[in-house]
Each structure stands twice: as structure tokens, then as C-alpha cells.
Symmetry: D2
Subunit: 201 residues, 4 copies
């Protein structure tokens, strides 16, 4: 079983990323469960704004899409400033929109029997909105979102330190992250054992 975690933080490598610190907890838990995990920092790649699979020369989306095709588990990890989903995460979901009409030989949409999760690290309020928005996009494409397949960190109210700058509340976020990893794996395995059929008419 393979997982792909897309880090949708804004700064490019090697700049430090709170989102990366939190997603690391989820990745570690998955690896201990014998799941192969790829982590891609999307902003290090030049993903063009389009709604097709491939935008031609210079577009980095096809390479990320190749990893996504191999993964039964997809996790979108994103910061929030302050409130909405990051533009990098929105771009990923926009590009994934082309997968809605893609089916396998049995007529099953690409994302059926795959599962999706969400990680949000903001220094201010906004995580539940981001989880709602990303979960919605994933479900729309056909991913199944398991119960409590998310974690988040923030510290309100108003502006404040980031996840890496304070010791406020990481235990809760880390425990929720391990639960998310377990739930994603459990539902992915249940669907592998008894897959969803293709839609009828």
C-alpha cells in the first residue's frame, strides 16, 4: 500500500515548514504500518494553473500525477493564512479535477477505492474550514474520506507563533495525526478487500 502526502506550504525548500513538521507525524505512523509514503513539497515544482492533466512543456503536474496514480492514500497538507486553503493546495485540487471523468476498464472513476486525508497547520483559526473545503473536493473527485482522517494545529485567537515556535498543544495534534493515519489505512484496506463498483445508470 502506498501513500502520497502533498505538502502545500508556500515557502520553497529549504525554508522551514510547520506543515512539514506536522505531516511528518502522519508519515511516520504510516511507515510503521508498512505503508510506503512519498512526501512532495508542491511549491518546489512548477505546477501550472490549468484544469487538464498536462499543460505541456515546463508543467510539473504530470510528475506529481504519476505518484498520485500509484497511491491508494492521498493526504493534502496545507497551511492557512488566515482562513482559507493555501493557493498551492487549491491548485493541486484544481489539477485533480481532470480525474473526475477518468475511469478504469470496469468504468470506475479514478478515485474510487482510494482514500483522502487532510493536515492543516496555521498560526491562526481556519483549520475546520480548510478540512471542509479539501474533504469536499476529494469526495467530489471520488475519494472516500474516512472518519477523523485529519489533524490540525493552531493557536488562537489572532496572530501568534507557528507550530514550530511554541510548545502549545502539539500532543493533541500529533495524536489526532496518528489516528488519521490509522483510519486512512483501515478504510483503504477495507476497500481493497471489497471494492466499490462502477456507477450504474
Amino acid at each position: 500500500m502506498r501513500a502520497l502526502i502533498l505538502n502545500c506550504t508556500l515557502p520553497t525548500s529549504p525554508e522551514q515548514s510547520s506543515t512539514e513538521a506536522l505531516l511528518h507525524v502522519v508519515a511516520m505512523a504510516m511507515r510503521q504500518d508498512e505503508i510506503d509514503v512519498d512526501v512532495v513539497r508542491v511549491v518546489d515544482h512548477d505546477v501550472q494553473p490549468r484544469v487538464t492533466d498536462d499543460d505541456g512543456v515546463g508543467d510539473a503536474w504530470p510528475a506529481i500525477l504519476a505518484l498520485l496514480r500509484e497511491a491508494e492514500i492521498l493526504v493534502i497538507a496545507t497551511p492557512t493564512w488566515p482562513g482559507p486553503t493555501s493557493s498551492v493546495a487549491e491548485r493541486v485540487l484544481e489539477r485533480m479535477d481532470a480525474l473526475i471523468s477518468e475511469t478504469d476498464d470496469a468504468g470506475r472513476p479514478f478515485a474510487y477505492n482510494r482514500v483522502g486525508g487532510i493536515i492543516v497547520a496555521g498560526n491562526e483559526d481556519g483549520a475546520h474550514r480548510v478540512i471542509a473545503d479539501v474533504a469536499h473536493s476529494l469526495i467530489d473527485i471520488g475519494y472516500t474520506v474516512p472518519g477523523q482522517a485529519w489533524t490540525y494545529w493552531n493557536m488562537g485567537p489572532g496572530p501568534g507563533p507557528s507550530y514550530l515556535e511554541t510548545d502549545h498543544g502539539p500532543e493533541w495534534s500529533e495524536r489526532a495525526g496518528r489516528t488519521a493515519a490509522a483510519n486512512l489505512a483501515a478504510v483503504a484496506r477495507a476497500l481493497a478487500g471489497r471494492p466499490m463498483p462502477a456507477p450504474g445508470d
Copy 2:
């Protein structure tokens, strides 16, 4: 296998409900799949605004909750005027909030291995937002939301006729409703076959 569909329309019975007309398609598809389906029009009952299981004498929530406990599949069906989720649906989700801390003997949250879906009938734009909001609340409580486990109807832009007053686009909504029924059943059965474990530490 049992399903509970909560019709969160605003008018009480016997007034006509577009939401009911659309949820009927989903209920029919489930029954053909040998799933027992209960449909409750929530507004006919006096559900009090609280975040506990039981608000005492006169509160109708415990009766609805009893049905909800028996159902592996929950569908929230709601209208939208214009944009947000109906207050009746929000109240149901608020009351369900008490289920977050309820676990079975194995330590599993109440909603694990149960699945949730969404039906929206508005005469104006707003369905995707409602689907996002309701899916988020369900996932938060621990329900798994299968890929494409929703349907909606509307006709934009601006105010216009309701689902029962026009023949604009019902086929798409009905087909999406049958797909939602199939996906809810498939994921519920997969989870029955190989259940999610209790969260660890």
C-alpha cells in the same frame, strides 16, 4: 443493513418538500439493494437546541437518536436558502456532536464504521457549500464519507423554480442520487467486512 435519511426541510408535513422528492430517489435505490430505510422529517419533531444527548421532557432528539444508532448509513437531506445549510440540518449535526466522545466496548467512537451522505435541493446556488459543511461535520464525528456520496439539484443563477416546479435537469440529480446510494452501501459493507479499529495513543 439499515439507513436513516433525515429530511431537514423547513416546512412541516403535509406541506410539499422538494428535498423529499429528491431523497426519495436515494431511498428507492437503497431499498432495491435490500437496505432498510427510515425517513424522518425532522421539523415534524421538536428537536431542542442543545449539545447533549437528551434535553429532557419534550425534546424529540432521543427518539431520532435511537434510529440513528441502528443505522450504518446516515443521509442528511437539506434545502438551501440561499447558500447555507438549513437550520434544521445544523441542529441535527449540533445534537450529534455529543456522539464524538461516545465509544463502544472496544473504545471505538460511535460513528466509526458508519457512513454518511448528503442530498441538497435548493432553487438557487449553494449545494457544494452545503455538501462541504455537512461532510465536514460527519467526518468530524467519525463517519466515513464515501466518494461521490451526494447528490444535489438547483437551477441558477438567482432565484427560480424549485425541483418540483420544473423539469430542468432532474436526470443528472437522480443518477447522482443512485450513485450515492450505491457508494454508501459499498463502503458500509466494506467496513462491515473489515472494520476500523479503535484509535491508539
Copy 3:
């Protein structure tokens, strides 16, 4: 100049309300600015689920609506459990929907030249989403939402104490509340001085 603050908390009086504690800061700032402020705890009244002005005998909405008609400034104060707007606030906004088609003698929608603000007190993340949702409903009806006409409090991540149970961060929330009061008053006065016209064709 008059303001109406609707406390959309779930528990009825005299139970303690964190939302009330935070809205008190806004009310005090308005009164110091010579604005008459009414505060109504909506759940103490029996507001029926409808989208009309008056639901007949036993419906408490007409009384609240009468206060709302006198107020140039409307503030929706709501808790969040965990994530969405409270069902009480959604019901208020649903009932206000009937105001969309009401105009004065000059053809101006009811809410033109009135301003709206938002207060959110949750013990967990969700405030920005609630602010977005309530602001949207107000703008939809025709209210103008001034810049930074909101405040919120929460303390994440995950469940935790409420506003009245901790001394975490109230200064930021209170200062933002005073700014919201000033901005609501400033924009209401600007619009009183130079009102928006009726829509053309």
C-alpha cells in the same frame, strides 16, 4: 443610532454564555459611542423554522424582527461546536431571508444602508468559517459588512476550555471587538450621511 446584537448561543437563560461575555465588550464600546444597543438571547424565544416574516401564533420571530427594523447596526454573535455556525444563528439568517424582497418607498431593499458584524466564541477552531458564512448571508440580504467588523475567541487545537474558563488571549479578542464596534459605527454613519440608492435595471 441603534444596534441589535443577537446572541445565538444554545443554552437558555440564565445559563452562563461565553458568547455573551464577548459580545458585552462590543456592546459596551457601542454605548460609549452613544449608540443604543439591544441584546437579545434568541434561544429564550421560540423562533420557528420558516422563511417568511411571520409564522403565526407562537412564533417569536416577529418580535425580534421589530427590533431588527429599528437597528442600523446588526451583530450576530454565535458559538461554534466545532466548526459550523450555530443552528440558532442559521435560523435567524433563514428568517431574515424574507427581507431580501422587501423594499422601502424608494425601491431600496430593506438592508441597504444598514451594517452587519459578527462575534464568534468557540472553544475550538471554526471562527473564520463562521465569520465567512454569516458575512455572506448578511451581504446577500443587502447589509454592508465593514472591514474588520468582527471579533472571535478560541483556543486550539482540539477541545479545551471556553472563553470564561481561561485567561488565554482575551485581550486580542476584546481589542478586536472594540475595533469592530468602531468600524460598524463609522460605516453606518457614512451611509447615513450619503445613502446607497435603489438598484436600477
Copy 4:
């Protein structure tokens, strides 16, 4: 008085844009009202993902920001596929986040006494959610969002033709667009006549 309309469509020029067709109605109405209107197709410029004013060599944001500084009226025009705000619009709002802490000599945040509006052209449901999200971001930064300062077009349910491909309902969207233009101008002028003060303590 100056307005800046940012077209946040995904395809670059000269590809046809439904969003552009709808924003043209708003731009025309503003020009007839003697407002100078700039229209920028953001995707034609290389706006980098950052939360600062200037990302250095090759970043096109400073040029757009210069126009934004001159405009009392800002309109975000965006498509939706299917549901969320476009990644291009999210990027603009992310870059604008740096304006939150910028004040004039009197201590007033940059966006005070400026107004914001929203235009959404999707071929499917999602406009109200986008309006809520963008309005929220603008209000957060300090822009005032006038009542009914938005328009949208879509045609549901499910996938379908775009605004430029059908004659379904453009009159409603165009009339709402002219109203939005008038309301943005009216509130901008009211605020110019009697400006919001700087926040106190």
C-alpha cells in the same frame, strides 16, 4: 475614483474567458459612472506563492499591487471548478495578506475606506461559497463589502455549458452585476465623504 478588477480565470490570454465576459458588465457600469477601471488577467503575470509584498526578481505581484494601491474599489472575478475559489484568486488574496499590517500615517490599515466586490462565473454550483470565501478574506484585510456587491452565473445541476456557451439566465447575472457596480461606488463615495478612523486600543 478608481477600480481594479482582477480576472482570476485559469487560462492565459488570448483564450476566451467566461469570467471576463461577466466582469465586462460590471466594468462598463462603473465607467458609465465615471470611475476609472483597470482590468488585469492575473494568470498572464507570474505571481509567486508568498505572503510578503515582494518576492524579488521575476515576481509580478508588485506591479499588480501598485494598481491595487490606487484603487478605492477592488473586484475579485473568479471561475469555480467545481466548488472552490480558483487557485489564482486564492493566490491574490494570500499576497494581499501582507497588507493587514500596513497602515497610513494616521494608523489606519491599508484597506480601510476601500470597498471590495466579487464576480463568479462557473458552469456548475459553487458561487455562493466563493462569494463567502472571498468576502471573508477582503473583510479580514479591512475592505468593506457593500450589500449585494457581487454577481454570479452558473447553470446546474452538474456539469454543463459555460456562460459564453448558452443563453440561460444572463439577464439576472448582468442586472446583479450592474447593482454590484452601483453599490460598490455608493459605499466607496460614502466612505470618502466620512472616512473610518484608525483602530483604537
